[in-house]
């Protein structure tokens, strides 16, 4: 039995029946991470001692039978934009390279309360700006299925670590596909919850009105287990919903017969890799066999999703990243600084990578006098239309089905010279974030030996249906059980 390959549910059963201990599981997973990760480079920080300490506590909880949850004793990794008290949190940026937060994000506290074991922090595109993890200021992360390819981004480290069994689940963060796109590239399951379902407190903001923390896992059941633990109202984040969190796992096995899947016709256009298209068509046939109805729907403003998304991202990010100014925390460059502005200019010049610089400058441009109406305001209006598109399409069906990316994972370096070309890889995943709707990504097959991802998109706060429909697919297929040979 390879302990790191277990699902949360399998490991949890073995822990509950005392066939294994959390220390054994955590130790085995840490050992594997130290052995394999030098090739993949998914972790920025591995917290060995702390993990073993937390595992011991989890074992005590289990021994006493006190407060045991399905995540007690389960090792996980968190994207490095999620604040962890006394553990370096870098956003894979030079400007936060040595930053150690004084507090935990709410999701970290919730997982600690549940008894989960934090193993470390994972690599990402700097501040979440990128689709390949190549914008990390530290190093590239490699796709466990082919080390010459990217893991996707921006939560590339979390996806690669999950894919290579270097943790039992991970936390990613999805601003415009950053959980789903790398999940698809690495053959793991991941969800972008409804905006406001999971607290953003302690998440280092990229786009405050898009950002969603979401779990990545081996299968849908595990994903539901983690989401029901981390979701819910938080007084520290006024955008979180007050409504109770359903026990998703109790209902995942419900039949999907008679439900309707909408296929957005705008998503099936030229440019899609043949193997991706055939995998998605095969998934549709699987659902037909399960008694689901398939109907074509239209999201007429799809072609505008990408410019809307990027414009609003640039604008919000330029404002959010103003806090990194070299005076209160993080990198500070003050050589011969004659005034405080000098510190800002030097610190930000040295601390930010090119993609971050591009985006905050373009954001300032889009927000500046004379351009505000033409760009920012116009994008917010088209955003309303994008949201209406989803409302209209989802009024006639239960969920939508689409690929997560037009291609499988591309090669390292293939798209780094042209920023716009890189942006286009997000074409299927960006529209959900301006609209706020939830979407679940799951493995749907292989094209030229590389994983194909599909996503199910649902109504606001209807993660339940996504899990149910995703779980039904994973009962019929075993793509999600395929592991990279590494």
């Amino acid at each position: 039995m390879q302990l790191p390959n277990l699902t949360i549910r399998e490991a949890s059963d073995l822990l509950a029946t005392k066939k294994i201990s959390s220390v054994e599981l955590t130790h085995a997973t840490l050992q594997r991470a130290h052995e394999i990760d030098p090739k993949i480079k998914s972790y920025v920080t591995i917290t060995d001692d702390l993990a073993i300490e937390q595992a011991k506590k989890a074992d005590e909880r289990i021994a006493k039978g006190e407060n045991v949850t399905p995540l007690t004793g389960i090792p996980f990794a968190a994207k490095d934009c999620i604040s962890t008290r006394n553990i370096r949190t870098t956003c894979s940026s030079k400007i936060l390279e040595d930053y150690v937060p004084q507090y935990n994000a709410t999701v970290i506290n919730k997982l600690a309360d549940a008894g989960a074991v934090l193993m470390g922090k994972t690599n990402m595109d700097e501040f979440g700006m990128g689709s390949s993890c190549e914008n990390s200021a530290f190093f590239n992360t490699h796709n466990p299925w082919d080390l010459e390819r990217v893991p996707g981004g921006s939560s590339g480290g979390s996806a690669a670590a999950m894919s290579a069994s270097l943790c039992s689940f991970s936390l990613g963060e999805d601003t415009g596909g950053s959980v789903r796109m790398p999940a698809g590239f690495c053959n793991v399951t991941g969800i972008k919850p409804t905006y406001g379902r999971v607290s953003r407190y302690g998440l280092i903001s990229l786009v405050s009105s898009f950002d969603c923390i979401g779990p990545m896992s081996r299968d849908v059941y595990d994903c539901a287990t983690v989401l029901e633990t981390i979701a819910g109202h938080d007084p520290q984040d006024s955008t979180t919903f007050n409504s109770p969190v359903p026990r998703y796992t109790q209902h995942v096995t419900k039949s999907v017969k008679g439900m309707t899947i909408g296929i957005p016709k705008e998503y099936f256009v030229s440019g899609m890799e043949a193997g991706v298209e055939s995998s998605i068509q095969e998934a549709i046939r699987t659902y037909e066999k399960l008694g689901m109805k398939i109907q074509e729907v239209s999201l007429p403003n799809t072609k505008y999703a990408l410019p809307v998304y990027y414009l609003l991202l640039f604008a919000e990010a330029s404002s959010n990243l103003a806090r990194f100014d070299g005076t209160r925390f993080g990198l500070s460059v003050s050589e011969n600084a004659k005034d405080v502005i000098d510190i800002y200019l030097q610190t930000r010049h040295k601390g930010f990578g090119d993609e971050v610089k591009r985006r905050i400058m373009l954001g300032a441009y889009a927000l500046s006098a004379g351009y505000y109406d033409a760009y920012y305001l116009k994008a917010q209006k088209v955003r309303t239309l994008l949201r209406r598109d989803f409302e209209t399409a989802l009024a006639s069906c239960d969920i939508l089905l689409a690929p997560t990316c037009p291609t499988t994972a591309f090669k390292l370096g293939e798209k780094t010279s042209d920023p716009l070309e890189m942006y286009l890889s997000d074409i299927y995943v960006v529209a959900t974030n301006p609209a706020g709707v939830p979407a679940l990504a799951l493995p749907a097959g292989f094209s030229n030996n590389m994983p194909v991802g599909m996503q199910l998109i649902g109504k606001h706060l209807d993660e339940q249906t996504l899990f149910q429909v995703g779980h039904a697919y994973q009962q019929e297929t075993d793509w999600h059980k395929q592991l990279p040979n590494i």
């Binding site: 414009l311 005076t327 610089k357 591009r358 400058m361 441009y365 994008a379 209006k381 920023p419």
Partner: protein, 99 residues
């Protein structure tokens, strides 16, 4: 509609976001910005007459809480992360100029 963003404009927005920038960088970004902004101009095709701008996507109304003092991070702990501090304050060079 191609829109040129020249190096002067790049330097101007760099200063707006308090980002130091070299001439070579301004040159490089200038070319990239023009093609990205050109791509954004695609939005001009969309008819948004009578469409309100999105503001909030959760339909939340005002979220208020009782105004009660609670323990928070200590000054000492906060200052652990400050690059420079003195007598319990964050220290920076001159903020206001001579004028």
């Amino acid at each position: 509609m191609a829109q040129q963003i020249d190096t002067e404009m790049v330097k101007h927005v760099a200063f707006l976001v308090r980002l130091g920038i070299s001439d070579e960088e301004a040159q490089k970004f200038s070319g990239q910005f023009s093609s990205i902004i050109d791509y954004f101009n695609m939005l001009n095709e969309v008819d948004t007459e009578n469409v309100p701008p999105a503001s909030d996507i959760t339909n939340n109304t005002n979220v208020l809480r009782e105004d009660v003092a609670k323990p928070s991070m200590s000054r000492e702990e906060f200052l652990n992360n400050a690059p420079q501090s003195e007598r319990g304050y964050v220290k920076v060079p001159t903020v206001l100029g001579d004028e």
